[in-house]
Subunit: 190 residues, 2 copies
DNA sequence: CGGTCTCTTGACGGAGTTCAAAGCTAGTGG
DNA sequence: CCACTAGCTTTGAACTCCGTCAAGAGACCG
């Protein structure tokens, strides 16, 4: 319990065992069944989630009524709609479990208290967000620089294990094209 | 001097006048001429830049040899290649001034000392990065959800003043299409 | 002024979408 | 543990958005 989170925090900042015991006062554990929703479009996003086990997806519904996946959340990754979370306004996203999952969740109202109790958590999140933003810059470079075919090859080459965990149509949605075209690419590349 | 930066910091955390006087010990001011480079592909990114005046662009060169703009940096915005900055590895990006600019720059080696001297700066950057990441999530939603035409209309509608500051071909590059197609869109929408 | 950027125009081509239908797979209940 | 069904994946044909290429017209700076 809390072990995945504690391990992750200790990769970036110091945290004594005594301090780690304080975490449950500010961060909850939620067990999520496959297909359950952690956030629905139109709601105010109350939680910032850390994935301990399992896999989440974040998506929105476009004007044609199809789901558009923008992010996956896997083990050791923080996921939330940060615009909605930060401003406590209605979200334009959905977050759903695509496997049974165990997540650690910080409520919006408890965030400030956590930073007061454990100031190094402020530092931890500074580092986490900086790295997440850095990863985004790289992702955007690929998105713009390469064709959809090249993006597919790059992604499957980089995360072969992950690709097998999710249905093809979700991969297609994440990469920004149709399941039909993905099928064509798969045939082409044996 | 330092006023734009101090004002920005004070939007998010407390900073006394005495503390503000410490900033020049850790953060430098650079005056940049139009077209000058702040970072070139292949270099290690040493600096994290805050734009006080002027406008920067971040771009990479794709395999066809054309420039692909991924971000602009305008007043009150932090800009850097955070992957290269964080890991001190070779960058895949260029950063260039597209107007004469005045920027505040934190060197990689001074970052830790700044956070020790002014712990609230850690909190400030946590907030800055969280908001930048939130803005990215929204940008990605638009990128995937809408056609290039809709993206063009949305961007020009949202930032009419900014669009007039930059050449058309840079706008086309940022939005992910060709100057020729942008020209077509402009004609179509009077 | 003259030359180099920048923007426009139009013809053509191709990457990727849409639609419809058929084949598969996996979960569920009996 | 099997059978049935709903959801997932594949196929193929028609179509369309947008890129490429080439050439000309402005616009800006020295």
């Amino acid at each position: 319990m809390y072990q995945e989170l504690i391990d992750h925090i200790r990769k970036f900042v110091a945290l004594t065992d005594a301090e780690a015991e304080v975490l449950p006062g500010y961060i909850q554990v939620h067990s999520i069944k496959k297909k359950a929703y952690l956030l629905k479009e139109g709601q105010v996003c109350r939680w910032n989630y850390f994935v301990g086990k399992g896999c989440l997806r974040m998506f929105c519904i476009n004007e044609k009524g199809t789901e558009q996946i923008t992010q996956f959340g896997i083990e050791n990754w923080w996921l939330s709609d940060y615009m909605s979370f930060d401003r406590q306004t209605a979200s334009g996203f959905n977050i759903q479990a695509i496997e049974d999952a165990e997540v650690y969740a910080i409520a919006y109202e408890q965030q400030a208290a956590l930073f007061t109790a454990l100031p190094q958590m402020e530092s931890y999140f500074r580092i986490v967000f900086q790295k997440a933003y850095a990863a985004w810059q790289v992702r955007l470079k690929y998105l713009y620089d390469f064709s959809k075919e090249e993006n597919y090859l790059h992604f499957t080459g980089s995360f072969p294990g992950f690709v097998q965990r999710i249905p093809q149509y979700m991969l297609a949605s994440y990469l920004g094209f149709t399941p039909e075209y993905l099928s064509e690419l798969r045939k082409k590349h044996t």
